[in-house]
Amino acid sequence: MTEAQQPTVFDSDQQLLAGVYARALMGVGQKNGSVDQIVDELTAVVSVVNELPKFKATLESPRVPAENKVRMIDSAFGSKVSKDVLNFLKVVANKGRFDCLAAIGATAIKLHDEMAGRVEATLTTASPVEDSVRDQVAKKLSGVLGKTVNLRSVVDPEIIGGMVVRVGDTVYDGSVVNRLQQVRAKAVKRASDAIREQLDRFAQVD
């Protein structure tokens, strides 16, 4: 797998479903004014479930009846999370959508960020950057986008130098490798155009 590739397999149908569930959960949170808490708790639940593969498999399995899943959820999370999240998990169990849980968690975080005016961005550099530089980039980006930028940094030696910032689907590419490619493409085009226009300047027929 190359650097450009995404680490996980992406299921767009699951994303669609997750969006519906996450929006519903956020609706509950907004009504009760407990959005922050709900998102924190859901993130915790998702990480716990991910750490226990057998538990996860049981919750996802269509062979386990929904009542058993509800009972398991009650005993596992009953005293640890708020009523809203508990109820939500039970709804997910009853609908047999536990396979979407991770996606629901991710979507909920994204929705929460959106509501709070935060945006995720990735900063790719060739070598690790100092925090001061990172903060500067984050500040500058926040100014441009009008949102609080949550900057994640990634090191990729293949870009040689400069930096690449990705916000959502938009990539701001200021890397050395990109510039080299551009200069190469332009120089090759220029040279071949020039050769075609005035061949005698470049070659002599013997």
């Binding site: 797998m1 689907d169 701001y172 220029r190 040279a191």
Partner: protein, 509 residues
């Protein structure tokens, strides 16, 4: 040849010195799945339908399906080099092809890349492949003739510049032959020709190119090839690419002839794409917009108004039917879009009537206004006469005794059928056509045995060209005169009649 590396180095150095880079802002997505010439991509939030995208390694794709969670991309290149998880970049432009004089005489793929080994296409101009056709105000009615050089076509289903005339028939009925003859006949008329081969065997395309080269037709012809082995997206794009190249000439006041060989295969390629994209199948599993696929292509053939230079694109789309089934989905669609059709029949073909055109159901809806006047005067009722003859012939086979008038009509019909036969790659000048058809329809061949009609025509034309060139020139000068060949007392008619009678007296059957 000595190549000076220093000169090249200096050009490159200059380019590097002047290079100013700006931060490259682009929209990206990630490949979810890829195969069969299409890819599904997540991301590319703001991509537009039909926008170009770039895969790693410079492979180009087109945004084809915009869905809620993903974008369907058709890949115009080698899709085997694309992997799941690859980053896709939106380019913010539409697909365009090189146009201009540099494409003339070339063999290109639908993206404008050369396939003939004659070096890169030396053109600075490009034109988007998909554009909206010229509107009502930008056009004028079709009125100039576009001579195909084929007697049967020019006499009975005349094609005008800016017309779309469908060539339809079963396999092996001579559809391509008509189109190739039409291209060959454009020699020295200044008409630029485009032969778009879609889904054809590469061997047959090579045969066509060789034939065009041998007859000097490649000097004004461009061949666009998306062969049977080309991926479906390229086969689907090829006709649009060819039309874009022709439009460049049309908007510069020139005339073009585009042959789409054939649109049934393009429809099949489009069906393949649409089904892979999970668009709902309709009749014969074609997608719902297959009509639009052809109508928007053929609408781009036009005769522009004089203010826009009066250029034109004439198109000869070809449709292959199965077992003569003209009421299948694609044939009916294209018949309804075009301004007429030339219907080729296998039984006529095998009976030796070539071109195997069925006069009864072949029509040209533009008709006489796009015909040389002298031709209209001599061939006016020919199509209906020939259709009536076919009916009469079927009746006469019952073996009943025929009255003299009916027998005469039959004899005239046999001679006309014989006269309209024409070998491949032998297009005839319109003046020659007018003379021989005049002789046939006015009964000057009634004394010539049916089997000798072909020889009569050859020798007569030879006689005219060598001994009676003044008559030929007279008719050529007056061919657009409304009275020429119409009334018996017309000066031109008299000269032609005299020439025919003179020749007949010496012709020995």
């Amino acid at each position: 040849m000595k190549i000076s590396a220093d000169e090249i180095a200096s050009v490159i150095q200059g380019e590097i010195e002047q290079f100013e880079s700006q931060i490259d802002v682009s929209e990206v997505g990630t490949v979810l799945e890829v195969g069969d010439g299409i890819a599904r991509v997540h991301g590319l939030t703001n991509v537009a339908a039909g926008e170009m995208v770039e895969f790693p390694g410079g492979i180009i794709g087109l945004a084809f399906n915009l869905e809620e969670n993903s974008v369907g991309i058709i890949i115009l290149g080698d899709y085997l080099k694309i992997n799941e998880g690859d980053q896709v970049k939106a380019l913010g432009t539409l697909l365009s092809v090189p146009v201009g004089d540099a494409v003339v005489g070339r063999v290109l793929d639908p993206l404008g890349n050369p396939l003939d080994g004659k070096g890169p296409v030396n053109s600075s101009e490009t034109r988007p492949v998909e554009v909206i056709a010229a509107g009502v105000a930008e056009r004028q009615p079709v009125h100039e003739p576009m001579q195909t050089g084929i007697k049967a076509v020019d006499a009975m289903t005349p094609v005008g510049r800016g017309q779309r005339e469908l060539i339809i028939g079963d396999r092996k009925t001579g559809k391509t032959a008509i189109a190739i003859d039409a291209i060959i006949n454009q020699k020295e008329t200044g008409v630029k020709c485009f032969y778009v081969a879609v889904g054809q065997k590469d061997s047959s395309v090579a045969g066509v190119i060789k034939e065009l080269e041998e007859r000097g037709a490649m000097d004004y012809t461009t061949v666009i090839v998306a062969g049977a082995s080309a991926p479906a997206p390229l086969q689907y794009m090829a006709p649009y690419a060819g039309t874009a190249m022709a439009e460049h000439f049309m908007f510069n006041g020139q005339h073009c002839l585009v042959v789409y060989d054939d649109l049934s295969k393009q429809a099949v390629a489009y069906r393949e794409l649409s089904l892979l994209m999970r668009r709902p199948p309709g009749r014969e599993a074609f997608p719902g917009d297959v009509f639009y696929c052809h109508s928007r292509l053929l609408e781009r053939s036009a005769k522009l108004s004089d203010e826009l230079g009066g250029g034109s694109i004439t198109s000869l789309p070809i449709i292959e039917t199965l077992e003569g089934e003209v009421s299948a989905y694609i044939p009916t669609n294209v018949i309804s879009i075009t301004d007429g059709q030339i219907y080729l029949q296998p039984d006529l073909f095998f009976a030796g009537v070539r071109p195997a055109m069925n006069a009864g159901i072949s029509v040209s809806r533009v008709g006489g206004s796009a015909q040389v006047k002298a031709m209209r005067n001599v061939a006016g009722g020919l199509r209906l006469d020939l259709a009536a003859f076919r009916e009469l012939e079927a009746f006469a086979q019952l073996g009943t005794d025929l009255d003299a008038a009916t027998q005469a009509r039959l004899d005239r019909g046999y001679r006309m059928v014989e006269l309209l036969k024409q070998p491949q790659y032998k297009p005839l000048n319109v003046v020659d056509q007018v003379m021989v058809i005049f002789a046939g329809t006015r009964g000057y061949l009634d004394q010539v045995p049916v089997s000798e009609v072909g020889r009569w025509q050859d020798e007569f034309l030879d006689h005219i060209h060598t001994k009676k060139n003044d008559v030929w020139t007279l008719l050529d000068e007056n061919k657009n005169n409304g009275d020429a060949m119409k009334k018996a007392d017309n000066e031109v008619t008299k000269a032609v009649v005299a020439a025919i009678e003179d020749f007949n007296s010496s012709f020995r059957a």
